[in-house]
């Protein structure tokens, strides 16, 4: 079954977290179902879910009835997604903010591949821009590399000042 991840779920680690939370939720859901079937009125509190997990479950619930089987199916689908999805790494000059992450993930899923996963990290020496790594390929579009590449022009400009 095809899954559409929220943009806030970007990296494999995010999917792992999602799977863990859904797993917890599925266990809770199973227990609560047994209690309902057994006529036990005492219920336990629902596990606290993160917004992406909540969004994911809501989306899933629109397509499938919520059951232990469908939740297991969701977890399997997420694990399969994790295995098959291409992953790119984006290195920025500072720790990524949520808004920046969402925008970049959205762009990647619209323009590169719909199922792409994005790992973020930062390196302050980049000064700005970004470095994209996919497998053995590295695309360096950072300010640092641009400055270094244009060091000759830089000295020319300095001479003309």
């Amino acid at each position: 079954m095809k899954i559409k991840l929220p943009d806030s779920v970007a990296s494999p680690q995010d999917i792992d977290g999602l799977i863990t939370e859904i797993h917890e939720y599925a266990r809770w859901f199973s227990h609560e179902s047994i209690k309902v079937n057994a006529g036990i009125k005492q219920t336990s509190d629902q596990p606290i879910l993160s917004p992406p997990t909540t969004e994911m479950l809501q989306n899933w619930q629109k397509q499938n009835s919520l059951s232990q089987t469908s939740l297991d199916s969701l977890i399997s689908s997420l694990k399969e997604y994790l295995t098959n999805a291409p992953t790119i790494a984006i290195i920025l000059a500072a720790p990524v903010t949520n808004s920046t992450r969402d925008k970049l993930v959205k762009w990647c899923r619209q323009n590169i591949a719909t199922n792409v996963l994005v790992e973020f990290s930062f390196n302050s020496t980049l000064l700005g821009g970004l470095v994209v790594r996919y497998g053995s390929r590295i695309f360096d579009w950072s300010f640092r590399s641009r400055l270094l590449a244009a060091s000759n022009n830089f000295t020319k400009v300095l001479r003309n000042v």
């Binding site: 790119i88 000059a93 925008k103 323009n111 591949a113 821009g129 579009w141 270094l148």
Partner: protein
Amino acid sequence: MSLTFLQAFLIINILIIGILIAIAIRHLLAHLRPQPEEHRLAHSNENSIKLPKEVKEKLLKTAQINFQTVLDHSASELQRDLKITATQVNHRLEKLSQQMINDEMKLYHTSLEELRQQAEANIKAAQVEIDNHQAELKSQLATKQAELEAEMRQEVAAEKQSLLEQIDTKLADAVMALLTETLGHNVDLGAQNAYLIATLEEHKKDLKKGLIDEN
């Protein structure tokens, strides 16, 4: 040739002097040994005429005086001839030696002149050779100097360029370090969002191609 002539002349002179000395000795011996003749005359006189003792003594004395006179005269003649001969020989020798000296001097002068001319020619040739060599050396020196100057100019230019590049590199490194130090801690990603998206848009094809190639 003059030496041979002189030798011949001297030999002839010695020969003449020898002949004269031999004649004089012969005369002297003839006068000093009159006895056989006197004996013969005495015998003949004894055989022919008997002269008184006073006459004999007188004749003998007269003969002795005459002989002495002839002998003196011959000796003086011989002495005079010897003097003349010696004078002539001396004169000849002097003349000959003078001529020899003149000839030798002339020859010496000629040889000296030849040597001088030869030395002069050699000196001129050597001077020409030295001038040529000097000109060649000057030419080589000028060429070498020009080459060295050109090489030095190139080296100076290269060194200058190298120093300029080093300065540029150092300057760029310094500015880079300054930028890194200044901007590294104050990066606003929010302000870079548009730039980041624009960069990704710009390299969208590269990213897609990378994904396709890796898969």
